[in-house]
Every structure is written in structure tokens, then in C-alpha cells.
Amino acid sequence: MADAPTTEADGPTAPALDERAQQVLARLEAELGDALVEHGSALGDLVVRVRPDAWRRAAEACRQALDCDFLSFVSGIDWMPTPVVEEDAGGDTSSPVQPREMTFGVAGSAGRLQVFAHVESTYAPHWAVTLKTDVDEAAPRLESWVPVYAGADWHERETWEMYGVVFDGHPSLRHLYLPAEFEGHPLRKDFPLLARDVKPWPGLVDVEPMPGESEAGETAGEGEDAS
């Protein structure tokens, strides 16, 4: 099952894993067995998706079997499509238009919310791997990585306040960036960017047509697809 092809969002010419990444994958498969759901390649780098219940075990495997002693980051992704602002409503139209259907990235996903992390090795072959895992949208919970990587403390606090993922076994899950009374999870896609709602970005008004271009036509590539 680990040989499953990567998802269509990977692009037509997803580069294969390089030799170093294949060694990492072989070791991880030996350590994790069927807890490793899927793997993929992000420009040649290894991305693996593990079962949520094996999230901490994956960290331990990375630390012990792969010598990945360096924690780069832990964060989340919300795959929900960006809510569309209706142009007739006079809303903001300057933002890039993202696809309206839900697609998942490298190594796939079971649902909307994912937590992902990157670990590296400071030792000679410098192995590195990006780990992803699915979290339940209704009650996002995961085991904390703090016992394995002490530095996961702040990263998990950030992921908790930005995505609402609760980390079991975290020593003190409290707000990191935002004030203590803040409500909502700002990096989720359904959390609006209030600044844009209050006052639409005025940049488009200033764009004059290029010489030789029609007035109504292209507006010099400001976000919108001009063609």
C-alpha cells in the first residue's frame, strides 16, 4: 500500500524521490509498517502520511531510526476551498482565485484538516522527512510530540490556536501569539481576513492600462486571470 500513487494534485510531472529519500522511506516503512498510509514526493523530498494514532510513534521512529534529531516545524493545513467573494457584492476581488473544489496535496488526506511536520538530521547523510497526518474535523485531537522533541512545545501551541487541534499530553496548551480571550482559529480557511472585508484592497483602482492595451481589457496581472 505504500506504493500507492500520489494524488492528482501532485501535478503531471511530479519528480521521483531521490536516492536519499528512498533510503529514508525504506527505513520508515520497516519501522512503522501499515501505520504509514501513503507517501509522495514534494520536488524530490519525501512526504509521508501516517495514521493519526501513530503520530507520536512516527516521531520516535524518525528520532531513533533515522537520526532526525532536529525539529524544523509542526503546523497545520486546512484543505477547505477558500470561500469565494461574490464580485457583484462589491467585495474584494484582488485576491488570487483558488480552485473551488477540495483537492489534497502530496500524499493525500482523509479530510479537511491535517497536521504536518518536518524533521531533519544534523548527522552526516542529513536525512529529512515531512510527516503528515489527518485529524478529525469535528474533534481534532492528536498526541503531542513534546516528549520526543522538546521544541514541539511552541509549534503545537501555535497549531492549537491557529487550527484548533488539541494536543494530548502537551504541558501547557495556551495561546502563543494571540491574546488569551481570542476566539476562533485564524488560519482556518473559513476565518475571514477582516481587513479585506472592512475595506477592499484599493490597488486595482490605481492600475492604468499599459500602452497599447484596451481600457477594459487586461489590468497588468493583478491577481485576476486577465485572459
Binding site: 514534494a42 520536488l43 524544523s72 542529513h126 521544541g151 502563543l176 494571540l178 479585506r196 493583478e222 491577481g223
Partner: protein, 395 residues
């Protein structure tokens, strides 16, 4: 109520001085006045901005420290989802504002790799030159300011003066001292101005000279050594598990530099240079490693301007930049440590999600560990020697 049975206490032949120690301990317990909470910041000269540090003190000793961040949180990870790729470089200039140019490089590299565009060699060499120049500018400020934090005011003047030579070079090329916004997807905005290479060589000679000054003035200073040696020791394994990177980790003896060991992102392998490490892991080692790296960068810049290839500075890029769907993780050796962007694209003109991995965030997250048990004046030394930029913590 149960009583514990009397224990049979064996009689030892005890040195009478031990009883005195016991009596002292008893006295200390009786005189215990409880811990004191000291609030450092958010506005404090040693915090380079708005880092707040709540420390619990027992006398002069720190029992526990809790850094409180977020006073400058600007939410860049949210803001970039509402912008196009070319617009984003303006934002990420402001993450680590002392080495803005080095911030742009990994993001632009991620977009370029997803688009399968490669910047021409001349653009890559100019990028490398400017990245190293911003590293020198960042470190020169550190070399001066570290002296200031332990009570020596002279190095600060040298640091600020010599940094200006380098900032003038960056300004001459890009037009901005701090926020160049100079990288474009597929190359750079403009070529080097006329006569710049000669100026650059002169400035590098001054930088190398200034490194010698710091070596004499600060590193060789017994007072500085007393204030920094064996203060704030970070063992390599602890540092790595907290994600401490860059010069801070190399000062703990870890021979790991993304310019040499990471995925190639700029032509560093064509240069002759060396990765410096120090086995001690204390504040002095962090100062020493940065001093050597400043020298090494100046030598690299001299090699870079000598071997600058000719040719175009921009690759062929479509007028409206759309990045194909995919994911890219590019991490680079920023002056402050590992700076990385995990870019998720869905084929639009802007990214779907960008995770910004900034160096100072992880470097500062070790503070609760490293500040435990140190004296109050050493808190300032350790903060200065870890060298963080607030914008790089809060993003």
C-alpha cells in the same frame, strides 16, 4: 491518627562542619521569602523589540522563565493567502528585517522550482553576493551589540559604523537599505550598478579589518570572557530537539550548514569556504562562531564578485505568474538559522498555504530551558548571544 514507628537511627561519626551546613540550610528555609516574579519587557533594550520575559527569581537566580511573544504578530501566514506570488516578497522582507534579502531567496526558490524555471547564473551569483552581504550586515550589528549588552559600549559604535559600509552596498544595488524587495521569480530586478564591484572589494577589506578589531577588542577581552564563558550552555542534542539552528547550533559543535549540506539553492558549492564550529556551546562560542562566519562571508563575497558570470539576469517568465499545483519545501541558511517555506500551490496566482519556518522562533523557544538556574545579569547575556529578531519570532 496513626503515628509512624520510631526509626532506628544509626550513629555515624560525622564531621562537625556538616552540622553547621545543616544549620545553614535550616536557616535558609526559615528565611525563605518566596520567589519574586520579575517582568522584563515588552519594552526593554535587551529584547530588541517587544519580547516579554516573565522570570521567577530566587534571590539572584532564575528559577523559571516564560517568554511571552506575539506583541508583533502580523499574521503573515494568513496574509500571504490573499496575495499573488510577486506581492508576497514585500511581506516576507519584513520577517527578519536585518537580512531581508536572505528572506526572499527561499520563497522565490520555492516558486521557481514549482514553475520549473531556473534563474540565469549571473542572477544566482548576484543573489548569493547579496545574501552574504546581508549576513555580514546582520552579524556586524551582533558583534557590536553583544559588547553593549555586557557593558562595553565601544564595540557598538564600531559595529554600527562598519555595518553601514555593507548597507550602502546593498542600497546601491537594490535601492533599499533594509527592505530590498529585489528578487523576482526567474531572476533579479536589475543588474549591478557601474563601479559597484570595486566599491564592494573596498568595503570587504574594511569588514575583514573590522573583524580583526572585534577579535582584539572583544574576544580577547578578559572581562568579556568572564561574562560569557560557560554562560548559557546549550548541549547539541538539546539545541537540535528545540530546533535551534544556524550559528547557535554550530557553536554547540554541530557541523551542519545548509549552504553546504542542504539541498543546493545557490551556487555555494562553487566557492572555497569553510563551516566554523565551536565545541563549547556557551555565549562566548556563539560570539566566536559568528565572528568567524563574518570573515568567511567577506571572503566569499570577494570570490563571488571575482567570478561573476556574464549573461542575462532574468529568465523567461510569463507575464501573469501562475504556479502549478504542488508542494515545495525550501530551507536555507539564513543569518539567524534555518529559514524555510513550505509552499502549497493549487495552480493559482497565489499560494494556497505557506508555512513560514523562521529561525528566531525556534531559537527563542529554548529560553525556558537555558535560562533555568542562571543569574539575572546572565539573562541579558544569553538573550544577546542567541541573537534574535522580533519580526522573525512573531512573523
Amino acid at each position: 491518627m496513626t503515628t509512624t514507628p520510631p526509626r532506628d537511627i544509626p550513629e555515624f561519626d560525622v564531621d562537625p562542619t556538616l552540622y553547621r551546613h545543616l544549620a545553614d540550610t535550616q536557616m535558609n528555609v526559615e528565611l525563605d521569602t518566596g520567589d519574586m516574579i520579575l517582568n522584563i519587557g515588552p519594552q526593554h533594550p535587551a529584547t530588541h523589540g517587544t519580547l516579554r520575559l516573565v522570570v521567577r527569581l530566587d534571590g539572584e537566580r532564575v528559577v523559571a522563565a516564560d517568554p511571552i511573544i506575539g506583541y508583533m504578530h502580523r499574521g503573515y501566514e494568513k496574509l500571504v493567502e490573499f496575495r499573488t506570488y510577486p506581492q508576497i516578497t514585500t511581506l516576507i522582507n519584513r520577517i527578519d528585517w536585518l537580512s531581508s534579502f536572505a528572506n526572499e531567496v527561499p520563497f522565490i526558490a520555492a516558486a521557481e522550482r514549482l514553475m520549473e524555471i531556473e534563474a540565469p547564473p549571473r542572477a544566482q551569483w548576484i543573489r548569493t553576493t547579496l545574501t552574504e552581504l546581508s549576513r555580514i550586515a546582520t552579524f556586524l550589528l551582533f558583534l557590536g551589540e553583544m559588547g553593549l549588552q555586557v557593558g562595553a559600549i565601544t564595540p557598538a559604535f564600531y559595529g554600527f559604523r562598519d555595518r553601514e559600509y555593507v548597507l550602502n552596498l546593498i542600497e546601491a544595488v537594490t535601492g533599499g537599505r533594509f527592505h530590498p524587495n529585489f528578487n523576482r521569480i526567474g531572476g533579479i530586478k536589475e543588474d549591478l550598478p557601474w563601479g559597484w564591484i570595486a566599491d564592494c572589494k573596498q568595503a570587504m577589506a574594511k569588514v575583514l579589518e573590522s573583524c580583526d578589531t572585534f577579535e582584539d577588542l572583544v574576544v580577547g577581552n578578559p572581562i568579556f570572557e568572564q561574562r560569557t564563558r560557560s554562560i548559557g550552555i546549550i548541549p547539541a542534542s538539546v539545541g537540535a530537539s528545540y530546533g535551534v539552528s544556524g550559528s547557535n547550533l554550530r557553536a554547540s559543535g554541530v557541523d551542519w550548514d545548509l549552504r553546504r549540506d542542504g539541498k543546493p539553492y545557490l551556487p555555494y558549492h562553487e566557492l572555497d569556504w569553510k563551516v566554523w564550529t565551536h565545541p563549547d556551546g556557551d555565549s562566548f562560542a556563539r560570539y566566536w562562531v559568528r565572528l568567524q562566519e563574518t570573515r568567511e562571508s567577506a571572503r566569499m563575497v570577494l570570490q563571488l564578485v571575482d567570478g561573476l558570470p556574464s549573461g542575462p539576469i532574468m529568465a523567461k517568465v510569463p507575464r501573469i505568474i501562475k504556479v502549478p499545483a504542488g508542494e515545495a519545501w525550501i530551507n536555507t541558511e539564513n543569518p539567524l538559522g534555518e529559514m524555510g517555506y513550505y509552499v502549497v500551490s493549487k495552480g493559482a496566482t497565489g499560494p494556497f498555504r505557506v508555512k513560514i519556518r523562521s529561525a528566531s522562533f525556534s531559537n527563542v523557544s529554548i529560553l525556558p530551558w537555558v535560562l533555568r538556574g542562571v543569574f539575572v545579569p546572565d539573562v541579558i547575556t544569553i538573550l544577546a548571544s542567541l541573537y534574535f529578531i522580533l519580526g522573525d519570532i512573531d512573523r
